[in-house]
Amino acid sequence: MKKIILFLGIACGLVSCLEVLELNHDNSDPVLVVEGLITDKPGPYTVRLSTTVSFNLSQRSNPVEDAIVTISDDLGNQEILNYVENGRYETTSMQGMIGRTYYLDVAYGGVNYKSQSTLLPVSAIDTLYSTFEKATRFIEGGYYLSIGAKSANPNLVNYFRWKVYEADSLYNGVNDIMVARDDYFEGEFVFQFGYPFEIGDTVKVEMYSLNKDAYDYYQGFVTILQSDGGLFSPPPVNAPSNISERVLGIFQACSVVSEEVIIAK
């Protein structure tokens, strides 16, 4: 939306400009942030814990080192995660399985935080191919990657996420969180990524199954990441966590498929 506004501005001969502001910010007490993921691929799986930090500090986050993190499943398996570094806790022997439900338990600061997630299946990637697009005002010229798949369960709404790696390096910008739902498609879908590649690039795409709460979380997360704070954005709210109201972040169990392609003519 903002792009359209800015384009309008340019078309009307206006010069809009950006400026960094120095504002005073009140700061709330630190809030726990959870980043937990278990997949159907071999572990170890990681749960990262941190807290919010004061806005004007240069520090980006404050790792939590003294929590007790436990993951269990609906078969009664349970494992206490080992602390590694930078707020990261890892499993040692646990293996995610499709269809299982996983439970997270974090004991921190005298409070027990709990969450759960079911590891849903994800369908195979049918096609992964690139097409050449000429440069226009809105898109860069180059080879655009398209991914195609069938719905994992055509009777349900399926939610999923893509991650894109180029030469094993994850695309992780503000616009790189891509989640989707398939109910506007009829049983299969094709999706084209919004940035071009060059000939010879090795591109890997991972596709994750998501629970609805994870989809809602990422939708909210993308909304707040991309919020321009302007008149056309909804009032900013934190992405809805599946852990508790006073916590940020999410715990999720996902199945993953991936496909790799070398961009060619």
């Binding site: 001969g13 960094v20 930090v53 992780n172 910008g173 506007y184 302007g230 056309f232």
Partner: protein
């Protein structure tokens, strides 16, 4: 509260009887009635004072230029006066009912400023209406304009108590109401979205507009349908005497208006058109990536009228406008309004006036991707078809009764998504919705004594949803969740689903303190059955209109206002101070992350609460002389409280601005040169501000306190605009008159933030958005403001013959 209301009603009843007692005592009465028109063009004039200075009895012409005055048999000198026109005195011997049509000529402004007609220009003091503003279109035309596009809505937004949603938006927010609580109508037809170019310009072409009135409170019983305000825009009728054309060439658009008699003095037409051409310049570009884009809006106003005879007048008018964005033949966004009005004024007698109106308005938009696997066409819109009967009965000089009935049929098409060939996107459709809105009203403007003038009335409105439709039942009726649908009821075609309605009392009174000052008080209740499901502050063309239904209760508003009005120096200066309190029930808001566009169960996305607003507005205005303009100030507070938002605690909507000052001045240096200037100050919008930051998946994110929505303010907003209008010297001796307008928006280049976003700033430069192209030396999470308009000069050439 209840006892107070009873007391007011009792007083009114007592006064009604005393009034009729006075009426019985008088001698035989005769009625003088007719139309008042502009001598040059034959346009009817609205709000002309028709007055007998001896008896101090009088009236004003209605919105069709008609007046009716009943007086005892005698000889009278009736004075017809109107701002900007030469007053006219007509002596008549009133011994029978008679018709008197009057033509007034425009006043050529005298060089000596002291020669100002001391006419009856104290309407603002003497009339019963309060909280009503009439915009002088000519004054708006002289105002500095953003990019040279004269915009009447921007003029309206400078009046106290009226705000925009933010810089460069056309929403009209009145006394703490949201944009959808203002009914905007052109020739009585609803304009659902008054914006062009996402809101930078309004749909009203100033060349086609004759009159604009906006009611902020004390809304008469004949108006309804929205909670906060009615903005009534009237189109010009067309010159009945001679052919004329006018137009202008600006930086982004050109305008042309043609008007002419069809049958001289009986019938005429006007056609006014405007189109932007930013994209036409783009077409000249050799760059194929630029010249294929389309980006324009156009609008056309047409109107024709026919004076069948003394007793019958017919008008037909229409508005068509459309915005088109078409990027590389790939992505398309279009939207527009269409309205049509057929109006028949009929005089049963010289005391009973009937206006019969048929109206149609439509708003729709289209979004499309033309080719590829994701191609689709998405259309949405709504339509309103109405019939209205509005009677005015000029009972006697002390009582003027308005009554009438209207019915509106609404059809909503929330979304239809159809894939193009080869697309993998499926068909998606949200079922159309149907509703009918009825309203019945009666109101009397009753002059009780020289001191007391009261207007009292009541409106009864009724809203019915009907089938075909599926209505869902939820496990918990109050907290509706999509996954908890327990039952579906199928309603067949035309079957009534839900009927809601109620009484809307409207009362206002004026007490004349002396010749130059008065006190006024008003109370009105309003009901609103349509609302915009918009989660952002400024309306977007794709926002969805939602009718009240089994789950969404009609909005109810109650407003009391008190005002003191005083004119100075022979009415050269008008001053007023008004205070108001407004209470709004059943206000809708939206759950976090609500899907407002595609939900088939919009009731699961909506929350309901209340809002209230209060404030004081000051206005000093000068309408006469070479220096005209106004200073407006308002101090106000608006709060909303919705369970499920902000932890159920009250919060300020974004548009709540404590202080709001507008200074609008126009000075005619001589016959050729007019200077105009505006200065605006407003408290910064209420916004949420992060109370920390955190990292998730390597991204820095702002953390917001869920219990502190809009608890902070944007920096205060202020700016000054200046313009000069220069008439060509040759104008004096030529029929063709031309002028240049040079405007500068934001003269002292105040960097007013349009938005503030929180994000990573690379190397201290907010313009770097691609980290692949620079060496990242620093990455800091900072507030970044976007400033849209830093000094925008423009030049426009206007002509008229």
């Amino acid at each position: 509260m209840k006892s107070k209301k009873t007391a007011i009603i009792l007083i009114l009843i007592v006064h009604l009887f005393s009034g009729s007692a006075v009426a019985l005592q008088t001698d035989e009465k005769f009625t003088i009635s007719g139309y008042v028109r502009d001598a040059e063009s034959g346009e009817s004039l609205i709000g002309v004072s028709v007055f007998d200075p001896v008896q101090s009895k009088g009236t004003v012409t209605n919105i069709y230029g008609f007046y009716s005055l009943s007086l005892s048999s005698a000889e009278y000198t009736i004075r017809f006066s109107f701002i900007g026109y030469k007053s006219q005195n007509v002596t008549i011997l009133l011994n029978r009912n008679q018709t008197l049509d009057i033509e007034l000529s425009t006043e050529v402004l005298q060089m000596d400023e002291l020669v100002v007609s001391a006419d009856k220009m104290d309407k603002n003091v003497t009339e019963v209406r309060m909280s009503t503003e009439k915009l002088n279109i000519q004054q708006v035309i002289n105002m500095p304009a953003l990019m040279g596009e004269v915009d009447v809505i921007r003029g309206v937004q400078l009046l106290p108590g009226i705000q925009s949603a933010g810089e460069g938006t056309t929403g009209v927010l009145v006394r703490g109401g949201s944009a959808d609580q203002t009914l905007i109508q052109i020739d009585e037809a609803t304009v659902f979205n008054p914006s062009h170019f996402m809101g930078f310009f309004s749909v009203f072409n100033p060349d086609a507009i004759k009159d604009l009135e906006i009611y902020k409170g004390g809304i008469p019983s004949k108006y309804g349908g929205r909670l906060s305000s009615i903005m009534d825009v009237r189109m010009k009728e067309g010159n009945k005497k001679k052919f004329g054309a006018s137009g202008g060439i600006g930086l982004i658009s050109s305008r042309l208006t043609v008007e002419a008699p069809i049958i001289k003095n009986k019938s005429s037409f006007i056609v006014s058109a405007r189109r932007t051409y930013a994209d036409l310049f783009a077409k000249l570009s050799p760059d194929t990536t630029i010249n294929k884009n389309k980006l324009f809006f156009y609008d056309v106003n047409v109107k024709a009228n026919y004076e069948i005879n003394d007793r019958n007048n017919l008008f037909v008018s229409g508005y068509f406008g459309r915005d088109v964005f078409d990027f590389d033949d790939e992505f398309r966004l279009e939207w527009g309004n269409k309205t049509g009005t057929v109006r028949w004024n009929h005089l049963f007698s010289n005391r009973l006036f009937l206006n019969t109106t048929l109206l149609h308005s439509k708003f729709d938009y289209l979004i499309g991707i033309d080719s590829g696997a994701e191609s689709f066409k998405w259309t949405s819109g709504l339509e309103e078809t109405s019939g209205k009967l509005d009677f005015t009965f000029f009972a006697n000089p002390n009582n003027q009764i308005d009554f009438g009935y209207s019915a509106s049929y609404h059809k909503f098409t929330p979304a239809v998504i159809s894939p193009s060939e080869g697309s993998l996107i499926g068909n998606y459709r949200i079922d159309d919705l149907f509703a009918i809105e009825h309203a019945l009203y009666v109101g009397n403007e009753h002059k009780i004594s020289d001191k007391w003038l009261v207007a009292y009335g009541v409106r009864y409105s009724l809203f019915q949803n009907f089938g075909p439709a599926d209505i869902y039942t939820y496990q918990n009726g109050n907290d509706r969740v999509l996954s908890e649908i327990t039952d579906t009821t199928r309603y067949s075609k035309r079957e009534v689903i839900k009927t809601q309605g109620g009484i809307e009392p409207r009362v206002s009174a004026r007490y004349q303190l002396n010749n130059t000052s008065s006190l006024k008080v008003s109370y009105n209740r309003t009901r609103q059955y349509l609302q915009l499901a918009s989660n952002s502050s400024a309306g977007l063309p794709i926002d969805r209109w939602v009718p009240s239904d089994a789950y969404i209760k009609p909005q109810i508003g109650d407003q009391v206002a008190l005002g003191y009005f005083k004119n100075w120096s022979d009415n050269k200066f008008e001053t007023s101070i008004e205070g108001y309190y407004k209470n709004m029930k059943n206000q809708i808001d939206f759950k976090d992350g609500a899907d407002l566009l595609f939900s088939k169960n919009i009731e699961t996305e909506i929350l309901s609460g209340k809002a209230w607003s209060y404030g004081i507005e000051l206005l000093l205005k000068r309408n006469i002389g070479r220096t005209t303009g106004w200073i407006g100030y308002s101090i106000s507070k608006t709060r909303r409280q919705v369970p499920g938002i902000n932890g159920g605690r009250a919060y300020s909507p974004r548009y709540d601005r404590t202080h709001d000052i507008s200074l609008v001045v126009s000075h005619e240096l001589n016959e050729l040169i007019t200077f105009s200037g505006n200065w605006i100050f407003a408290t910064g919008s209420a916004v949420s501000r992060p109370k920390g930051k955190y990292e998730f998946e390597g991204q820095s994110v702002a953390y917001y306190d869920a219990l502190d929505r809009n608890g902070y303010r944007m920096p205060n907003y202020h700016r000054m605009d200046l313009s000069v209008t220069i008439q060509s010297k040759k104008n004096m001796n030529r029929r063709c008159k031309s002028s240049w307008n040079i405007s500068i928006y934001n003269v002292y280049m105040k960097k007013n933030p349009w938005s503030i976003e929180y994000r990573d700033v690379i190397n201290g430069d907010p313009n770097i958005d691609d980290t692949n192209k620079v060496v990242v030396q620093s990455r800091e999470f900072k507030p970044v403001s976007t400033i849209l308009f830093k000094l925008v000069p423009s030049i426009t050439y206007n002509f008229k013959f």
